[in-house]
């Protein structure tokens, strides 16, 4: 799925412009603990999380992820948006909680790798 398609499915706001809109996202990882993302996630292009801080963006960068979706109505701060722009990682925010947001993407064919 394209980032814009994911945004449409989750009714999400997109905060970045300098990201890879052509990225074809096939897999995702949902977690609030970045330690677990580092230790368990494999080859996932998308991170869904309820945690909002700059380390979420750095973790996504180290894991070669293309996009982050903040769930439960959480919004990224300006400094985080700038950091994500610099790293070409898309930032999105949806009002859906983590389970619901993950389920909706699963229904669209997104899967998880690394369990």
């Amino acid at each position: 799925m394209k980032i814009s398609e994911i945004a449409a499915v989750l009714n999400a706001e997109v905060y970045t412009v300098n990201h890879d809109e052509n990225a074809d996202i096939k897999s995702a990882c949902s977690a609030d603990l970045m330690s677990d993302v580092m230790a368990f996630s494999k080859e996932n292009a998308l991170l869904l999380t309820g945690l909002v801080n700059p380390q979420v963006i750095r973790t996504a960068e180290m894991m070669d992820m293309k996009a982050i979706i903040f769930v439960r109505g959480k919004k990224p701060q300006q400094a985080m948006i700038e950091l994500a722009e610099e790293k070409r990682i898309a930032l999105l925010a949806t009002d859906f909680p983590l389970f619901e947001a993950s389920g909706r993407l699963y229904q669209q064919g997104i899967r998880g790798h690394g369990y």
């Binding site: 609030d32 603990l33 970045m34 330690s35 677990d36 580092m38 230790a39 999380t49 945690l51 801080n53 700059p54 380390q55 979420v56 750095r58 973790t59 960068e61 180290m62 894991m63 070669d64 400094a79 790293k87």
Partner: protein, 140 residues
């Protein structure tokens, strides 16, 4: 690549907004050098775990990085409290991180085992009350 590339970084204590900056810079450098993506990812993950540990457990420290044609060596050192029982610390799930760190999304006790998994060589020298030196080597 005949010559050795050397980079040094300061890792500020308890500054979560910049934690990971050194790893990010090294990752970008490896991309520029055309290193294989899976090697870059392994290096980035191992270094980032060590850098975060230096920030949250070691009161900040330094990173010294050397890249040659066939490998990267990363030395992350701090003058923090050291690790009392390294065998215990290497176990998955062992963590002394306070709640404030858990709220930041870290402190699951997965960092050291994860470093071991991704590094080709991992050497940890630590002394209680003196500090910790973590050396990570990844062969290209």
């Amino acid at each position: 690549m005949g010559q050795v590339i050397i980079r040094d970084f300061e890792i500020p204590a308890n500054d979560f907004t910049v934690a990971g900056e050194a790893s990010s810079t090294v990752r970008k450098l490896l991309v520029q050098l055309g290193v294989a993506p899976d090697k870059i990812k392994r290096t980035a993950i191992a270094m980032y775990e060590a850098e975060i540990n230096a920030v949250i457990h070691g009161h900040g420290g330094k990173a010294h990085v050397e890249i040659s044609g066939d490998k990267i060596t990363i030395v992350i050192s701090d003058e923090g409290p050291g690790i009392e029982d390294l065998d215990l610390a290497m176990q998955e799930g062992y963590s002394t991180a306070p709640d404030s760190i858990r709220e930041m999304g870290f402190g699951a006790g997965m960092g050291l085992p994860n470093m071991k998994k991704h590094a080709d060589e991992l050497d940890i020298r630590t002394e209680k009350g003196k500090g910790t030196v973590v050396t990570i080597t990844v062969y290209f």
